[in-house]
Amino acid sequence: MIEVRGISKRYGDLQAVDNLSITIEKGHIFGLLGPNGAGKSTTISMMCGLISPDQGAVQLNGEQPTAKATKHKIGLIPQSIALYEELTALDNLSFFADLYGLPSNLKAERMEWSLKFVGLQDRARDTVSEYSGGMKRRLNLAASLLHDPEFIFMDEPTAGVDPQSRNKLFESVFELKDLGKTIIYTTHYMEEAEKLCDRVGVVDKGQLLALGTVDELIDQHGGHSSVHIRSEAGEESFMTANPVNDLMARLKDLTTVENLSLQRPNLETVFLNLTGKQLRD
């Protein structure tokens, strides 16, 4: 379990993170959704102990993230490709495994598992600089899983990745969840948050604006659904808080419906309603 209590971080005049509190259950995938510069990376960095908050505290299973025993349980997938591109994938993994002091038999086993997990076992001897963007992203993930961490922090792992690699990555996230890992996933793609996350926190300008399951957030902040009908009566649209009932009622009066669409509110509308701006610029 991860407990974040009132953490803040300030860079000069800029309040990067402002009094943010979250609790994340073991085995959950938690999404941190927000536009560029919202403070996602800063939050995640404080959660995994990379930077210390100005105020507030973070506890992983009741321990400080910087405690040595806890460090063994943390896996961070940095937003940038944090790899030595001049070295081979194997050299990279071997080095990062050594940082965790894995004994050599376990190290070989974990390296093999990680490469297989991200589907790079055939390219393990290649220099990373020869990899495609998607392959680098996958190796970036593999390098963080060598020590079999319990808490996995993924900072925009799909940045610059084609749809195929993206789907592969989603599968990997679910596999990790099946292994019982607790996952924190930041993104500014609401589709990713909707698809992957058990719970989502919406952040902007360092503040946590809303917290809950995707459905809860939509119920609370999504507003009305929009309904669009084309029939013998012509085209008509209306907004409603109760789309199913309202639609059924309207359809009773019509005989030939040519086209019908129902647009439920999504995280995009949630974000729009919370901040008055689009998630993506």
Binding site: L76, P78, E86, L87, D91, L99, S144
Partner: protein, 433 residues
């Protein structure tokens, strides 16, 4: 604990060797520098040929002719002087060797098939093996000339002609015209030679093989008697003794720049975050970097001094050199940490470190040797860590420093290293939080 530090160091060395530019500036360039300037200095120093002092105690026609040959030989640069001065010149290292032609040299010089080979006395520093071999070889080459001289001797010629006339008469396949022409010509030529010989005051070169009674083969071109001269070391033994320490500085500067860039690159890439998140301490991370930088320096310095010793004939006091290299290593690892901590991008760290080191190198003697600097420059050179590193290295190579004298540069280098390392690691720590 140590495992992570070693892993960090190995990784950095691997990265260094993957970077062709870094390898060039760390390993190849310093060597080229030492070679190139070393050879320029040695030729401009006039050492086109060995500098030798020659004393002719025989003062005969033959001995003077031999001195003349030495003068004309491109292998030598000859100073003619008396015996005492010749020895002094070698002892003080101003000349490489002395050659003394003792009395009786001329007498033996003419004798090919009898008597003893002419003797010369050569004095050279026993440590200068390469020059000694070269000198001996060159002298022998000159000695062989005396055979050429002998074979242009008239008696020898007459004998040769007799053989030839006989050959021609017995030859069956030679055209008759040629046979008659040569049979006519060669005896006449022989007659003429005999007349010339009769005119000479004494029959130069009596025939008959006769080896020297004491076992000295008179067919030896020369008998070289060597005398070992212990040279007072005052000043560098050769120009490489100056350019190798300079090459070492260039190599160390290459390491410093390479590692400063690699440390900043870890920040910009985010791999430093991976290190920071791992269950290793900041001290271990920094120790790994420092050790990598130090190991790279040790490697290139070992390479340079191995080449210097075996190929360039540079001599040094091993223990003092080791101390100098370690102190310089500490100093420049600190400098590396400092520059890596105050800069944010790879370009700025490369630019700043380069500018700083080249300036320090320039005023510190990495380009112009310290002793060749004008006075004002020598006094500002004190602010350059490069100067102290070169001084320590030179102290172990040719300045012949005592351990007490070594203390000053060693202490200064260590102090610079410790202070810059401390500041650097402190600042790097601040950046992260």
């Amino acid at each position: 604990m140590m495992k992570a530090v070693i892993a960090l160091m190995k990784k950095d060395l691997k990265l260094l060797f993957k970077d062709k530019m870094a390898v060039f500036f760390t390993f190849v360039f310093p060597l080229l520098f030492a070679f190139f300037f070393g050879s320029i200095f040695s030729s401009s120093g006039g050492a086109k040929g060995l500098k030798i002092a020659v004393t002719d105690l025989d003062q005969t026609e033959k001995s003077q002719a031999f001195v003349q040959q030495l003068n004309e030989a491109s292998e030598f640069r000859v100073t003619e002087t008396d015996e005492a001065n010749a020895k002094e010149l070698v002892r003080t290292g101003k000349q490489v060797a002395f050659i003394i032609l003792p009395e009786g040299f001329g007498e033996n010089y003419g004798g090919i098939f009898s008597g003893q080979p002419p003797e010369i006395l050569v004095g050279i520093d026993p440590a200068r093996k390469a020059e000694a071999g070269y000198l001996e070889g060159s002298l022998m080459k000159l000695g062989i000339k005396r055979f050429e001289l002998a074979f242009s001797d008239a008696n020898e010629m007459i004998k040769q002609l007799d053989f030839s006339i006989e050959d021609i008469q017995q030859s069956g396949d030679m055209p008759a015209e040629w046979k008659s022409l040569l049979s006519d010509y060669l005896p006449k030529f022989k007659e003429l030679t005999e007349q010339e010989l009769a005119k000479q005051p004494d029959g130069a070169g009596s025939t008959g093989l006769n080896f020297g009674a004491d076992g000295d083969n008179p067919m030896m071109p020369l008998k070289i008697t060597k005398e070992e001269v212990s040279v007072q070391q005052s000043g560098p033994r050769n120009s490489f003794s100056i350019t190798i320490p300079q090459g070492v500085i260039w190599a160390i500067m290459g390491c410093v720049i390479g590692f400063a860039i690699s440390l900043v690159r870890e920040k910009t890439l985010g791999t430093l975050d991976r290190l920071a998140i791992a269950p290793i301490s900041r001290t271990q991370i920094l120790a790994g970097k420092a050790l990598g930088c130090f190991a790279a320096q040790a490697m290139v310095v070992t390479m340079l001094f191995t080449i210097a010793y075996f190929i360039l004939d540079v001599r040094f006091d091993f223990i003092k050199l080791l101390l100098a290299v370690i102190a310089a290593g500490i100093c420049f690892v600190g400098v590396m940490m400092f520059f890596a901590s105050i800069t944010k991008t790879e370009q700025s760290v490369a630019g700043m470190t380069n500018a700083f080191l080249i300036l320090m190198g320039m005023i510190g003697g990495a380009m112009i040797p310290l002793f060749a600097m004008p006075g004002w420059m020598q006094s500002i050179s004190h602010i350059s860590p490069v100067k102290w590193a070169i001084l320590a290295l030179e102290g172990a190579i040719w300045r012949d420093f005592s351990y007490i004298e070594m203390m000053t540069p060693l202490a200064i280098l260590t102090a610079i290293g410790v202070v810059t390392f401390f500041i650097g690691t402190r600042m790097l720590k601040l950046k992260q939080s």
